[in-house]
């Protein structure tokens, strides 16, 4: 085995080239980790939204809340079904909800995007994970007030605290900002159910009913009853399954992200290979000497591969470190299932960082392989003659 210090010191001698290559690899790893962190953030937003004990009742055939409608009478019947958990006041933990989409201008002249506005019963808050008012106060029913997720408030004009928007020519004022454990609710604006439906001239309309049913047998009974009841013409899905399906909306982003990462990695491999080709050609005599002394071809191959790996792993570590200050930073993109803005927080957990380091490893191995092959294919006698 050729001592690793030989490679490390050779790298430090060519420190400018080494540094530039490390930076190039680092930038690629950083960009890839950012992309993976975004996908992880979107998936987390959707995953954390789903509770396995909650049911969403929608119109039969609807695959998302926006395209669902439930008759007001049916909605009233649904919230009184047996098996639904009760809150402290003995009221069923079931919320009738009306969902609509508004086009709103983004901040900083960032164009417009669809924002989900949800009208819901008061009890609906308890069905979201860690719902908390973080600024202002909760809305009061009957006076056209809104509460807005904190991340949406920072991304859209007029949706900050004390801002106001018009829904169908009815003015709604923002009185509070909320958080909900990074769930999909953090991509929404909430109003009182009746205020919103009356502003939309859909008095009493309901899109979905959300309910908590702790017992599995009760959940199955409700699912069966809803499905078999011809009068309802509805279907019930477990909330976690619903959001699992919504994850398919991130699939396109995921595919594009992986393709971009693959292209970037491929490009960075050339940077690594270029550096290593230069190293091999400037050290031809050293390679010849090592082989003359009796170091096997395989040993020299491993040595140069290790050198390439060291460059790429340093680049990878730099790239990963560069993303850490952005951990938790929120961003937004369009949910392909609802055509509305979904906010997420970048998440650079161990899985994402390992993916980034995996890319660096691939760059090092593939980028180092061909120069290393060139090194071992040199005729010893020719290599010894190199200046």
């Amino acid at each position: 085995m050729i001592p690793l210090k030989y490679n490390l010191r050779s790298l430090s001698v060519r420190w400018v080239t080494t540094l530039l290559t490390c930076l190039a690899i680092g930038i690629v790893v950083c960009a890839s980790v950012l992309t993976f962190g975004m996908i992880e953030g979107i998936e987390h937003a959707l995953t954390s939204s789903g509770d396995a004990t909650d049911l969403i009742i929608m119109r039969k055939g609807s695959n998302n809340e926006l395209s669902s409608t439930i008759a007001p009478t049916a909605a009233r019947d649904l919230i009184n079904l047996d098996g639904i958990a009760k809150d402290a006041q003995g009221q069923p933990l079931a919320s009738r909800e009306f969902i609509t989409v508004l086009i709103q201008p983004r901040r900083n002249a960032g164009g417009t995007a669809n924002v989900i506005v949800r009208g819901l019963d008061k009890v609906g808050r308890e069905l979201r994970p860690n719902f908390t008012i973080v600024e202002g106060r909760d809305l009061e029913a009957g006076v056209n007030e809104l509460i807005v997720s904190k991340s949406i408030s920072t991304r859209f004009e007029n949706l900050g605290l004390d801002g106001s928007i018009e829904i169908n020519n009815v003015n709604f004022r923002v009185v509070g900002l909320f958080e909900a454990g990074g769930s999909a609710a953090e991509s929404e604006v909430w109003a009182d159910l009746r205020d919103l439906t009356s502003a939309q001239r859909y008095n009493g309309a309901v899109s979905v009913v959300n309910m908590r049913v702790p017992e599995e047998a009760d959940r199955q009974a409700i699912i069966d009853r809803v499905r078999e009841n011809d009068q309802f013409k509805l279907s019930a899905v477990v909330e976690s399954d619903y959001f699992e399906d919504q994850k398919s909306s991130s699939l396109a982003i995921k595919v594009i992200a992986y393709i971009i990462a693959a292209f970037l990695t491929f490009g960075a491999m050339f940077a690594a290979a270029n550096t290593m080709y230069a190293a091999v050609s400037s050290r031809a005599r050293e390679i010849g000497t090592l082989r003359a002394l009796g170091f096997a071809r395989s040993t020299i191959l491993v040595s140069f591969m290790l050198e390439s790996l060291v460059i790429c792993l340093i680049g990878g570590i730099l790239g990963c470190l560069a993303t850490l200050p952005l951990n938790g930073l929120s961003g937004g993109t369009q949910n392909a299932a609802t055509f509305s803005e979904i906010t997420f927080s970048f998440r650079f957990g161990p899985k994402v960082l390992l993916q980034g380091m995996g890319l660096a490893l691939a760059m090092g191995l593939i980028g180092g392989f061909f120069p290393a092959i060139r090194a071992i294919r040199m005729q010893i006698t020719n290599a010894l003659r190199q200046s």
């Binding site: 085995m1 050729i2 001592p3 210090k5 030989y6 010191r9 050779s10 430090s12 001698v13 005599r285 050293e286 010849g288 000497t289 090592l290 082989r291 003359a292 002394l293 009796g294 170091f295 096997a296 071809r297 395989s298 005729q379 010893i380 006698t381 010894l384």
Partner: protein
Amino acid sequence: MSTPSNTDPVVLVRDVYKEFRKGETVIPVLAGMDLELLPGDYLAMMGPSGSGKSTLLNLIAGLDKPTSGSVIVCGQDLGKTSQSALAKWRSRHVGFIFQMYNLIPVLTAYENVELPLTLTPLSRKQRVEQVKTALEIVGLGDRMDHYPRQLSGGQEQRVSIARAIATDPTLIVADEPTGDLDAKSGNEILELMHRLNEEFHKTIIMVTHDPSAAARAKRTLTMADGRLVSDIQNSTATGTTA
């Protein structure tokens, strides 16, 4: 592999031809070369450029293979040995001294001398002893931590000699060892090589263009056009210049 006895030749070259190809052109370099070296021999090879002396040295050192004929060194037929086996063989039997020293610039004198020892089964402690001994022999015991750039040409060549003897090889091959040195340093190197031959009984083959350097060997072989022109015993070979 058999171990040669004191009377078995260390090097046995029989009817060796070596050709190089450059596209369609075949360039003959060695044409029916024969040579025999006994243990303790000190051979200088001379001849004009292109006479084939370096090619012959490379064949004997196991760095290249003949086109035809046999090269048997330390009992091993090198023409019939695989590249990986040749690498192992070189590490055990051959010490190299190059004209340009060929030290690894990022390693210290100590680390350069230790390098071939990492291919042996010696323990770290044994390696330390071997390296120190080799550097003491060449008179550089106090320069162990110096990098090649911190040494003079003569000192670099002495480190190279220490590296060549560190594994205690049977054969030392030197390709113009004084070619890049001033007269004083060159003389010191030749003295050292004479000492290796006389005191440590190393078999040495040296390629040189310098007749006074060749005169320090026990035997001088002259080549021209890939053939042996003369093979003379130097009765006056000494370690110092007259």
